[in-house]
C-alpha cells in the first residue's frame, strides 16, 4: 500500500524548503511500482532514487521548481495501482506518475492519467499497447517495449544463423505478446518458429520444458519470460548441457540484475537488448557510482530511463511554466531531449520515445573482472529501426 514513511518524509522535506520556494512552481511526482514483489529489485526503490537524482541534477530548486516525490507499491495488481493513481491525482495533487512496471497496471494508469490531464512517464512497462492499441495523449513511453526487444535480440540472433526457434513462453499477456513480436521478427529475417510451450507463471523447474525444446531440433530457445523465470531457465539450461550441445538461448527481456544473479559464468554468451549499460562510457559510470551508493546495485535500463524521463519532464514544466498534462506533453514531443544517458531522445506523437537500443552479450567468466563487469556491446540498433512505426490514429500532435 502507500508508503507512509516516504509520504511523511517527503511532506517534512517540503515543509522545510517551502518558505524559500514561495514563488516557484510546485511539482509533485509519484513513483508507482512494485516495491515488494518480483519486480522490486529491477525498479522499486531504485526508481525513487533515480527520480531524486534527476531532480537534483536538473537543479530544480535553483530554477524555482518546488519538487516533491512520493512513492507507493502497486503490488503488480491493476486494481491496486488504479486506486493509488486516482488517490494521487484527485486528492494529493500529484502531477506525474513515474515508472509503473507490469504492463497491465501501466495500461490502467495511462487511462486514468489521460482523464486527469496529468502526465504518465512510463519506464518499467514493456507492452507496445501503451503507444498502439491503447495509446493515450499524455503517456510518454520512455525506455523500451517488447517490439524493441524483439528487434534487438530476435533480429540479431536470427541473422547470426539461429533460423529455427522454439519459445518457452510465460503463460500470460506479457509472455504471449513478447513471443508474438519476436516470432514476427524471426520470420521477417528468414527464420521459422518450430514450436513453443506455454509455461505456467511463475515456475521454478524448467528442465522438462527445456528438454522439449531440445527435442524440437531448434537452433535457438527463445525465453519469452522475465525475472526469476528467466534466471531459472538459463541456470537449468546450463545444467542440462543444452547450451554446450550447441543450442543457443535468447533471453528476450533480461536486466543486468538478472545477469548479476546468475553470475557471468552461467550466463556467458547470452545476448540481450537494453537501452542502457552502466559501464558503457564515463557519464554512465559516474551516474552508476552515485546510484550504487544509495541503492547497493548498479542502475539498469528501467532506473536509467526514469532518470531521463523525469529530466525531460522537468525541462518541460520549466519551459511552459505549467503542470497541465496536455501542455507539458506537447512541449516534450516538440523538443528533443539531450539525455545524459541515452543521448538524443525524441518523443513521437504517440508518446513513444525514440532512442538507440543496444545489443549486448554476456562476458565469459574469464573476461569479467568484477561482479558487475558483465556485458560487452555487440551492436547498436538505431532508434528508427528499434521501435515499431507510429499508428496514424495515435499521433496526438495531429489532433
Amino acid at each position: 500500500m502507500i508508503n507512509k514513511a516516504t509520504w511523511t518524509a517527503a511532506a517534512l522535506a517540503a515543509l522545510a524548503t517551502a518558505p524559500a520556494m514561495a514563488q516557484g512552481i510546485d511539482v509533485k511526482l509519484g513513483v508507482l511500482n512494485d516495491r515488494s514483489g518480483v519486480y522490486s529489485d529491477i525498479a522499486g526503490e531504485g526508481s525513487v532514487i533515480a527520480t531524486r537524482m534527476a531532480v537534483e541534477d536538473f537543479g530544480a530548486k535553483e530554477k524555482g521548481l518546488n519538487v516533491e516525490i512520493v512513492s507507493a507499491d502497486h503490488q503488480n495488481k491493476p486494481d491496486v495501482g488504479s486506486n493509488i493513481a486516482r488517490q494521487w491525482y484527485d486528492v494529493d495533487g500529484v502531477d506525474a506518475i513515474v515508472d509503473v512496471p507490469t504492463s497491465s497496471v501501466a495500461l490502467a494508469v495511462a487511462q486514468i492519467t489521460a482523464d486527469a490531464n496529468r502526465v504518465f512517464l512510463a519506464s518499467g512497462p514493456g507492452s507496445t499497447a501503451l503507444t498502439r492499441e491503447q495509446c493515450q495523449p499524455t503517456t510518454i513511453h520512455w525506455t523500451y517495449d517488447t517490439a524493441a526487444l524483439a528487434n534487438g535480440t530476435g533480429k540479431a540472433v536470427t541473422e547470426a544463423g539461429g533460423k529455427k526457434w522454439f519459445f518457452l513462453t510465460a503463460d500470460y499477456a506479457f509472455g504471449h505478446s513478447l513471443q508474438e513480436n519476436t516470432a514476427k521478427v524471426v520470420e521477417a529475417n528468414g527464420g521459422e518458429v518450430v514450436g513453443s510451450v506455454n509455461v505456467p507463471f511463475p515456475a521454478t523447474d524448467f528442465s522438462s520444458f527445456l528438454l522439449q525444446a531440445q527435442g524440437s531440433g531448434a537452433d535457438v530457445i527463445g525465453l519469452a519470460n522475465a525475472g526469476g523465470d528467466t534466471i531459472n531457465a538459463i541456470k537449468q539450461a546450463a545444467e542440462f548441457g543444452i547450451t554446450q550441445a550447441g543450442q543457443k538461448l535468447a533471453g528476450l527481456l533480461i536486466f543486468i540484475n538478472d545477469i548479476h544473479a546468475l553470475g557471468a559464468k552461467t550466463a556467458a554468451g547470452l545476448q540481450m537488448t537494453t537501452s542502457f549499460y552502466w559501464d558503457d562510457n564515463d557519464t554512465n559510470r559516474e551516474f552508476a557510482t552515485r546510484f550504487e551508493k544509495e541503492r547497493g546495485s548498479k542502475p539498469n535500463m528501467i532506473t536509467s530511463g526514469v532518470y531521463g524521463a523525469v529530466m525531460h519532464y522537468l525541462a518541460a514544466v520549466e519551459a511552459t511554466g505549467s503542470t497541465d498534462g496536455d501542455k507539458v506533453v506537447a512541449w516534450m514531443k516538440a523538443n528533443p531531449a539531450d539525455d545524459k544517458l541515452y543521448g538524443k531522445v525524441t518523443v513521437r506523437g504517440d508518446g513513444r520515445a525514440i532512442h538507440d537500443m543496444y545489443l549486448y552479450e554476456v562476458k565469459t567468466g574469464d573476461e569479467s573482472s568484477g561482479e558487475w563487469d558483465l556485458l560487452k556491446k555487440v551492436a547498436t540498433i538505431p532508434g528508427d529501426q528499434a521501435f515499431l512505426p507510429m499508428l496514424p490514429e495515435c499521433d496526438f500532435t495531429k489532433k
Binding site: S36, F209, E239, F240, G241
Partner: protein, 295 residues
C-alpha cells in the same frame, strides 16, 4: 518400443526421470511436514520459509566464511534445525493445547516475517550458488542428458526419506515418539522426557526443510520467495498422502512428481494445477488421504 499419444519413448523416459527429481523435493519437504504434523499436531506453514533459509544458509556459509557445499549439507540443516528449536521453545510450545488453527496462523505469520527479512537484505533477484565441482557435468543416458547433480538429488532424498521412515516406524526411539503423541502424560510417567522429544522432533522436521533447501540451492535461484512458491504444492502433497502419514508423504511426493512431469509433456499449461486437481479428487473420494488413517 512403445509410443504413447505420439510422444516417443525417449522423451517419455526423460520426463519421467525429471518428474522423479522434482518428486524428490516434494518428498523431503512433505516428509518434514508430515513428521511435524503427525507427532506434534502443528500445521507448519513456516516450512517453505525454512526451506528457503536452508538455501540461504548454504549461500552465506560459502560467501561469508568460505564453507563449501558438502559441509553445508550437514551444517545448514543443523543451523536451520536449531533456529526451529528456538521457534518451538519460545512460541509454538505455548500453542499445543489450542486448536490447530493457532499453530497454522503463527507459523504462517513467521513465514511472512522470515521471507520479508530476507527480501529486505538480499532482494528478490536471487543469488548464484554453483554446483559442487565433484557433481558438475552429467551422463548421457541415450534418451537424455542427466546432470550428475540431479542424480545426486534423487539418491540423497531417497536415503534421507527411507532413513526417516525407518527411524520413526521401526526403532525404539520412533516407538517412544509415536507413543508420546498418543498419550504424552503416560509416556512422561515412564520417565521419558516428552517436551524434549517434541522439541527435537520439530527441530528434525525443520532440518529436513533446510536439507532440501541446500539440495535446491545449486539448481534453483536462491531467493526469498523460493519457499513460498513451493509450499502450497507440498501441502497438497501432504493432504493427498494423508496428513501425518510418513510413508504417505514419501510415496505421494515421488508419484506426484512423476504425474506432474507427464503433464508437462501432454498439457504443459495444466502442469501447475494438476496436483491440486488430484487433491480435490482425493478429498472427494477419500478425505483422510490415500495413506491416512480414518480418524
Amino acid at each position: 518400443m512403445f509410443e504413447l499419444l505420439g510422444i516417443p519413448p525417449q522423451v517419455l523416459m526423460g520426463q519421467l526421470l525429471l518428474g522423479l527429481i522434482n518428486g524428490s523435493f516434494y518428498a523431503v519437504l512433505s516428509l518434514g511436514l508430515a513428521v511435524i504434523f503427525g507427532l506434534l499436531n502443528i500445521i507448519n506453514f513456516a516450512h517453505g520459509a525454512l526451506y528457503m533459509m536452508g538455501a540461504f544458509v548454504a549461500w552465506m556459509l560459502l560467501n561469508y566464511i568460505g564453507i563449501g557445499y558438502w559441509p553445508a549439507l550437514v551444517l545448514a540443516p543443523l543451523i536451520v534445525g536449531a533456529f526451529g528449536i528456538v521457534l518451538e521453545r519460545s512460541m509454538l510450545s505455548r500453542l499445543y493445547h489450542l486448536d490447530h488453527l493457532y499453530g497454522l496462523l503463527l507459523t504462517f505469520g513467521l513465514a511472512l516475517i522470515i521471507q520479508g527479512l530476507f527480501r529486505n537484505y538480499y532482494g528478490i533477484s536471487g543469488l548464484p550458488y554453483q554446483i559442487p565441482p565433484a557433481l558438475s557435468g552429467g551422463q548421457n543416458l541415450g534418451f537424455m542428458f542427466l546432470p550428475n547433480y540431479r542424480a545426486w538429488v534423487v539418491v540423497a532424498s531417497i536415503v534421507v526419506c527411507f532413513g526417516t521412515w525407518f527411524m520413526i516406524e521401526k526403532t525404539r526411539l520412533g516407538a517412544y515418539l509415536r507413543a508420546a503423541t498418543e498419550n504424552p502424560v503416560l509416556v512422561g510417567a515412564f520417565g521419558v522426557n516428552v517436551p524434549l522429544m517434541i522439541m527435537l522432533t520439530y527441530g528434525f522436521g525443520v532440518a529436513l526443510a533446510g536439507f532440501a533447501g541446500v539440495l535446491a540451492a545449486p539448481i534453483y535461484s536462491v531467493n526469498p520467495n523460493m519457499g513460498a512458491d513451493l509450499i502450497i504444492v507440498v501441502f497438497a502433497v501432504v493432504v493427498i498422502g494423508g496428513m501425518g502419514s510418513i510413508l504417505g508423504a514419501i510415496v505421494t511426493g515421488y508419484v506426484l512428481g512423476l504425474i506432474e512431469g507427464l503433464t508437462r509433456v501432454f498439457y504443459p499449461e495444466g502442469s501447475a494445477v494438476v496436483i491440486f486437481v488430484i487433491m480435490a479428487i482425493v478429498l472427494l473420494i477419500k478425505p483422510e488421504g490415500l495413506f491416512g488413517r480414518t480418524a
